[in-house]
Amino acid sequence: MDSKHVSGEKTLLHDKVQIAAKILVVGHFAVGKTTFIGTLSEIPPLRTEETMTQAAAHIDDLKGTTGKTTTTVAMDFGRLTLNERLVLYLFGTPGQQRFVQVWEDMTRGALGALVLVDPQRLKESFAVMDLVEKYGVPYAIAVNHFDGTLARSEEELREALDLLPETPVVTCDARDEKSSANALVALVRYLQSRTR
């Protein structure tokens, strides 16, 4: 029974830790959220799930089911201890509209969100952008460029995503530690500018 977590490599946080902050890494399916989190996390990224019950649009009552369906949503997350008293969690959040219940949980108390976008598939980011805006989470855009080439100019991208002039747009390679950290730094600087 006990052996089943041995491979999970749990690493406890120190007693002195006081504050757990949360930043969301959001984006459409397969845009690189898990890669990004894995690149920066000090622990092997963990996966957890939220279970939610939704009212079904129509009842499939052949067997007298109640008209509710249960859906599970997987979230990957990682951790960064930033100083003795502060730990930062990065949560990868799926962008589908039907996961609104999860979004309420995820966005509560979040400092901000980094929206990963694939310049070749901008349209697929629209749903997730709607969600971050709906929940009022301040965000920056990180263009994950897989092959080092940008198909679009920043102007085109801003226009396509209908960004506010102050919303930061950075490029990053989610596989690269420094590059991914820089994207987070850009987000945090933006969050700071909003508090002034």
């Binding site: 006990d2 977590h5 491979s7 999970g8 749990k10 406890l12 946080l13 120190h14 007693d15 830790v17 006081q18 504050i19 757990a20 902050a21 949360k22 399916f29 397969a30 690189g32 959220k33 898990t34 894995g38 920066l40 622990i43 092997p44 963990l46 996966r47 957890t48 799930e49 939220e50 279970t51 599970t72 997987a74 990957d76 997350f77 951790r79 960064l80 930033l82 100083n83 502060l86 730990v87 969690y89 949560f91 799926p94 949980d105 995820m106 509560r108 108390g109 400092l111 530690e177 420094k178 950290a181 820089n182 987070l184 730094v185 945090v188 600087r189 969050l191 700071q192 909003r194 508090t195």
Partner: protein, 124 residues
């Protein structure tokens, strides 16, 4: 451990989730956030009386802190179930939590500055 991107979660549950929670529904209690930090209480004499999941949870947090999300990840159980277990364990004094910071303080300039400094020190 799987490293592939965003496929369906695999939970090797042997019982349906509500068996673990004694038939109680999933908790939406505000007491536990995804990043609420949890540790085992120092005195664990009575731990032997706990059910297997609760005992495992307490043992997981002995000697340091883990977030609710990490506990769920390590135990391979949904967040909602972990919250139910934690609520019981907290009531009976088996676990302690670091109070989450109120949202108003989260955007606090101090916290953002510490996040920035921490990132730059680590990756700069």
């Amino acid at each position: 451990m799987t490293t592939s991107e965003e496929h369906e979660p695999e939970f090797d549950a042997l019982v349906r989730p509500y068996v673990i929670t004694n038939g109680r529904g999933f908790s939406d209690s505000d007491r536990f956030d995804l990043v609420t930090l949890v540790t085992a209480a120092p005195d664990q004499q009575r731990k032997a009386h706990l059910g297997p999941e609760k005992r495992e949870l307490v043992e997981l947090c002995e000697g340091g802190y883990l977030s609710v999300a990490e506990i769920a990840g390590h135990m391979k159980l949904p967040i909602g179930i972990i919250k139910v277990l934690l609520t019981d364990l907290a009531e009976d004094g088996y676990i302690l939590t670091r109070a989450p910071i109120p949202p108003a303080q989260l955007a606090d300039i101090q916290v953002l500055q510490e996040v920035l400094d921490g990132l730059q020190a680590r990756f700069g």
